[in-house]
């Protein structure tokens, strides 16, 4: 649905993005992840036809974003990052204007507006002036204007920025629901968000793609060993010795003390071997108390930080 190839954009002599390539299939949600200034907004602006790339190509639904800009713009809904919407209009009048310029047939307008007002939870503010709305409601109006003509493709630049936790969950839910019929690109620096909503992630740093994969693959790929956390009640010297003797364990580390004889331990074991059963067995056999045993998940956050710092190093 969206194909980006070797996209490069210079602002003056400063490269904002360099050789960015990725694809998004129909019905997929792609997370576009990167720290501040990575080039997320720049890429999205090129995709929406707001500005041309210095070199490289991008197509949406088979149309070139620069040459067939009008065809592309008919098919996308865009939410820019700081939600630039007209302050001096009422919400419903604004949405009506958007349906007009997006070419929604006259007899469908009312229905579409009502639907989007309901979906974005705007019923209570539909007659208010936009300038009097709270940040969260502004954000919803921004999302509503992107959605109102049912576009095939959604390009959302940090759609949950500035929302309270409850609204964040609601908007994420809404985006996920939409994904069944739409193709979505969503940028964010919030990692849990991306891992929650998106099937695939493109990580971009300093204008270059540093990783592109499914969320699961990304987390497992950067995992070279399996880490397990244990909490054991018993003399720590003894416990350490027992743990080290278990087959497959590479390293054991005593972490923080909980109380008295209770300590946390971190065990590193080889990736291809599940040692949890053996660890539990060994501790229980020795007569010490096993209070907790759980694998430590490598989060997308760790992957992100690792990739970004590797790139810089």
């Amino acid at each position: 649905m969206i194909a980006v190839e070797n996209l490069t954009k210079y602002y003056g002599t400063l490269p904002a993005i360099q050789g960015v390539s990725f694809r998004v299939e129909k019905g997929e949600i792609l997370g576009f992840l990167g720290p501040n200034g990575a080039g997320k907004t720049t890429t999205m602006r090129i995709l929406t036809g707001f500005m041309p790339a210095t070199s490289g190509t991008a197509t949406v639904a088979g149309y070139d974003v620069f040459k067939d800009s009008l065809e592309v713009r008919k098919r996308i809904g865009y939410l820019p990052e700081n939600v630039p919407i007209y302050n001096d209009m009422e919400v419903s009048a604004y949405l009506n204007f958007v349906t007009e310029v997006k070419g929604v047939p006259k007899k469908l307008r009312k229905e579409k507006i009502q639907q989007v007002i309901k979906n974005c939870g705007l019923e209570s503010v539909s007659n208010r002036m936009i300038k009097n709305l709270s940040k969260g409601y502004r954000q919803r109006v921004g999302l509503a204007q992107a959605l109102v003509n049912d576009p095939e493709v959604l390009i959302l630049d940090e759609p949950t920025m500035g929302l309270d936790p409850k609204q964040i969950t609601e908007i994420r839910h809404l985006i996920k629901e939409l994904a069944t019929e739409k193709t979505i690109i969503l940028s964010s620096h919030i990692l849990p968000e991306v891992s929650m909503i998106c099937q695939r992630v493109v990580i971009i740093n300093q204008g270059k793609v540093v990783a592109e994969d499914t969320t699961e693959n990304l987390t497992s790929r950067s995992q070279t060993s399996r880490r397990i956390l244990l909490q054991v009640d018993g003399p720590s010297e003894v416990v350490l010795k027992i743990l080290r003797e278990v087959n497959g364990v590479n390293r054991v580390q005593r972490k923080d003390q909980v109380t008295g004889n209770i300590f946390n331990y971190e065990v590193e074991a080889s990736k291809d071997r599940d040692v949890r059963r053996d660890l539990a067995h060994a501790i229980v056999q020795s007569g010490n108390g096993l209070l907790e045993l759980r694998p430590v998940e490598v989060s997308l956050e760790d992957v992100f930080v690792k990739l970004v710092t590797e790139e810089e190093g």
Binding site: K9, Y11, R45, T48, G49, F50, M51, P52, L70, R73, K74, I76, Y78, P80, N82, P84, I85, Y86, N87, D88, M89, A93, F97, V98, E100, V101, K102, G103, Q145
Partner: protein, 256 residues
């Protein structure tokens, strides 16, 4: 083409949501009202003297005595006010970032430009329409020839539209409304006074300068003469600056 109308509607609505349109309308009416009463008072005084000395009455006519001075003054007020109406058209959208969103809707640049231009011209036309009370007052009191009023209104409408097209171009060049207004004002003044130096230059250059001068072409209208040469000048001026506005929007994209 329908998009022009949608943008026109939105733009006109925001003119009347903000106080700008009301302030400009009000001040315009007050000042033209003042000029009107001063000019008419003077004219009736002269007419009264002419009644006593029939010889002087031959020089008396309403075009020279009322229409010309009234509309020449009106032209100056319009020169001062059009930049206030045009300054926000693109500058504000750029500053607020709404320009970005507007440009990603499936509309053509030309539709945006024409929608905004027509909205501004409409506010201006409303201004002129309200000022019609003054000629109507004259028509009610006496029985003057209304043809010079019609030509003067046509002239001032064309001239104002030309001012607007230039103001729109300048508002695409900056995010700052004040700069847009001051720069438009400055450029308009240059087009206004360019004919003044015609006397000091050679005959060819002088006539070129006089031809370029935006007020020179208004003189005929204010005298009750509609010359196609003047009509064409204002239409060309307007189209040229609307065209430059389109170009400016395009080059904006490349500048990023």
């Amino acid at each position: 083409m329908r998009n022009i109308f949608y943008l026109f509607k939105k733009e006109l609505r925001s003119y009347f949501y903000s106080p700008i349109a009301y302030v400009v309308l009000f001040i315009f009416l007050v000042i033209t009202g003042y000029f009107f009463s001063a000019i008419v008072t003077f004219y009736s005084m002269i007419s009264f003297q002419a009644m006593q000395q029939p010889a002087a009455a031959a020089n008396l006519n309403i075009t020279e005595g009322v229409v010309n001075p009234l509309f020449s003054n009106m032209a100056v007020i319009i020169l001062l006010m059009m930049p206030i109406l045009t300054m926000r058209l693109f500058s504000e959208e750029k500053r607020l970032g709404t320009f970005e969103l507007l440009m990603t809707y499936p509309i053509r640049d030309i539709e945006v430009v024409l929608g905004k231009f027509l909205a501004c011209v409409t506010v201006f036309a409303i201004m002129l329409a309200l000022s019609l009370v003054y000629p109507i007052l004259i028509a009610w009191v006496g029985r003057p020839d209304i043809k010079p009023f019609i030509s003067a209104y046509l002239g001032i409408f064309l001239m104002g539209s030309a001012f607007i097209s230039l103001g729109i171009l300048i508002s695409t060049l900056t995010e700052n409304q004040i700069i847009a207004a001051v720069a438009s004002f400055g450029v308009l003044i240059i087009f206004w006074v360019i004919g003044f130096s015609a006397e000091n230059t050679g005959p060819t250059l002088g006539s070129v300068l006089r031809h370029l001068s935006i007020i020179e072409h208004f003189q005929n209208f204010a005298k009750g003469i509609v010359d196609t040469k003047d009509l064409i000048y204002y239409l060309n001026f307007t189209l040229f600056f609307l065209f430059l506005t389109l170009r400016s929007l395009e080059s904006n994209k490349w500048r990023g």
